[in-house]
Symmetry: C2
Subunit: 447 residues, 2 copies
């Protein structure tokens, strides 16, 4: 596990250009590790685009006639802000109560290492041979919405051909319940910029006549979503498909207590969102709109009486089948324009997008993974969805035409994207055993 | 003028504790300058409160039987943010096109220096004697809402007794129109804090069920004020008194073009605010609500998909006669509580307040000041109001029972509280001559 700890020490924050060198160091770390572990053709794949982060590729393709798995993970991480809320520094892994605490512990360095370790252990256990063929494709722009992997996958479907993809970047539904994710929400992410007066003005001399850019953003945000969570963007629900009755029936069997969830995971005085839909449906199968950050005006110490001339906010919509990101981005952009108050100019700048995704639970590649996990964890595998977005799943579906097997060993309280992210070490170890077992179960399948 | 430039080089930002030493340096500078200029009893008056900034006092009281003037100004300045928008550094005064550019050039260091220079020149011109008695009382907490001067004035009415106060901290209505301000708006300033989930959450995993603190602040702000500028806080207009017909008639004669004002001073696509009131009335005689700055969530480079658990915003209300700050603060606090959406907790933290103020234009101390300025500028003096707050005027009215003569030599486009603040040098020089002339006109009044 020392190698994982070294990996977690690299602050590979892909969204912040100041960390570009560290992101590259993480890529090199993975490439070198895979090469040492017995993989072949281990290499960095560079993007022609300035500021992009390399892909890491490696393969082992000597199991003739057997299935080929495309193994995906990402070596980049979210920014650690707010850093002051971490109990131990985000890039100095700390082991407490059976968990590793570090930015990226669960999302996704720790889970990527499950795949890497499983392949290396399987090679060692089988005298340098694997029961299946594998191709690693590991990216460094998952948290920043970069498009290097999208371009690479779309241009190289033959080099990446496989029977299924295995993606280790999700969470189990609950402790001890192995889970396969069969649906992901898509996303449209961007920034709203509002400009009012030519410059900040004194609220004594101009209060009552000058537009206020922060106030305008507040009005725009309030116009996009009602207090009960209904998105007020015209047309936004037109393509939304509800899950099948069978799928919803499966969800109702899951061990879930909304009140416990509120208290232990959210920690707020109440849950919010659309009335008429239960919690899991709201997270997994309904579109949502969030504001992720806002800035404008004076936010330093003490009192300053400016009317802010400019303000900006980062926002996103989560999408569900069959919403289309391009269409939603246009609907959002139009709704922002329509909600813009007099005296200011509002502009939506799209940053990244990915479509929602469904995976057929009937695929044998999902069934064998479910069996392998069930054996290790001792509980039957649940089929769940995930409210987040993993753009690679849609890419693989579109360009390679194969199912993605989303095996997650994270836990719901792993605090990914938040302070004090962690990974449960027992899940890390059982994850490796599960993947080794999955490879064994595929030994007698045809490629 | 070299002394003024040295004064402007001191970053005496009272709102930011990091600049406490510079604020004190500015106080010392003024005290020493007055002593050299021939004033007596020049001293710093300390506050017992931690983090407070000293008052500067000095007097000359040898014009027996003649009026005594209390001369007020402030040596502290607003923060210079956003610093990157300054064409020359805020604390390195730059002379361009007949103006001095620096933070504090107009508000208030340059105008304070008009009073200081006028007294020093009058002393020199009269062989070490002044036509009137003067007491300087200069503060360093005007921009930070500190209460040192309030306590001092309320506890020392006898030491500060005078026939009128002269305050040089306002602007002329327009270039070449000398102006006396007869009304000021009050203010209630504070910060809204909103807390939702226990910590930031991932919008994929919790979007649709977790409260969003930034969204909640946007909803609260939108509930406090309509798009047409009407404040929606219950009871807020109950005590509002409209100006007299005579006063409004005077305002209508002022050279003012709303379209030019929009284009040249505000620079927005439209003016905002309550329909049914003209621009000057909206600024001078109507209460207004502004949000001065907001923060919450991720505002760094790139994309981060958090649901912010906390957010805050600085806001204020400008008050007009006869609104009461304590009552308005309570109305605001109640309205915030009433507008708070489910799942979050909102709290209003008041920071400072001052009442609105009216000064009787019939006072002879105003009339003689008007005559003195008219002689220097060649235009008759206008009686105007100011939309800003100068808390000292209310203090003087309440505790000393004397009128304040608000003589301003700033210009409407001086960019106070904004980048590229300036002072028109010609007004600085004519201001000094006007004040010297004002002293001469008071030579034969009784004290």
């Amino acid at each position: 596990m020392d190698d994982l700890l070294s990996f977690l020490r690299i602050p590979s924050i892909s969204a912040d250009p100041a960390y570009a060198g560290e992101v590259r160091r993480a890529a090199e770390f993975v490439r070198a590790w895979l090469e040492r572990g017995g993989l072949e053709n281990a290499q960095l794949i560079e993007s022609p685009e300035a500021g992009a982060h390399p892909l890491v590729y490696a393969d082992w393709l000597h199991a003739a006639g057997r299935p080929t798995l495309l193994l995906y993970g990402h070596y980049d991480v979210q920014p650690p802000d707010p850093v002051e809320e971490w109990l131990s520094p985000p890039f100095e892994p700390s082991i407490r109560d059976g968990n590793i605490y570090a930015r990226g512990a669960a999302d996704d360095k720790g889970q990527l290492f499950i795949l890497m370790e499983a392949v290396a252990q399987s090679l060692r256990a089988n005298g340098g041979q694997l029961p299946v063929n594998v191709k690693f494709l590991i990216e460094g722009e998952e948290e920043s919405g970069g498009c290097h992997i999208e371009r690479f996958v779309s241009k190289n479907p033959r080099a990446l051909s496989a029977n299924a993809a295995v993606i280790c970047d999700t969470a189990m539904f609950a402790p001890e319940i192995p889970s396969i994710t069969t649906g992901l929400r898509g996303i449209v992410y961007g920034e709203i910029f509002v400009a009012g007066a030519a410059h900040d003005l004194h609220s004594g001399d101009y209060g009552g006549v000058a537009p206020n850019a922060v106030e305008a953003i507040a009005q725009i945000m309030s116009a996009l979503k009602s207090r009960d969570g209904t998105i007020l963007i015209p047309g936004i629900y037109d393509r939304v498909q509800m899950p099948s009755a069978a799928e919803i029936k499966g969800w109702k069997k899951l061990p879930f207590d909304a009140e416990q969830f509120r208290r232990n995971e959210v920690g707020s005085t109440a849950l919010t969102g659309e009335s008429g839909y239960d919690v899991l449906t709201r997270i997994w199968a309904r579109p949502t709109l969030e504001i992720h950050g806002i800035r404008g005006g004076y936010t330093g110490e003490g009192a300053k009486t400016v009317i802010p001339a400019a303000a900006s906010a980062k926002i996103s919509l989560r999408l569900v089948p069959d919403q289309k990101p391009e269409e939603v981005a246009e609907q959002l952009s139009s709704a922002i324009a329509a909600a813009c108050p007099a005296g200011v100019v509002a502009r939506f700048h799209p940053m990244h997008a990915s479509p929602p995704c469904l995976i057929d639970p009937a695929s044998p590649f999902l069934a064998k993974a479910a069996e392998a996990m069930q054996e290790v964890f001792g509980n039957s595998t649940a089929y769940i969805r995930c409210g987040g977005s993993i753009p690679i799943v849609g890419l693989i579906q579109r360009h390679l035409g194969i199912p993605s097997v989303l095996l997650g060993f994270g836990l719901p309280d792993d605090q990914i994207h938040a302070p004090n992210e962690k990974l449960f070490i027992s899940n890390y170890l059982r994850g490796i055993v599960s993947i080794v077992g999955y490879f064994e179960r595929l030994r007698f399948s045809a490629g």
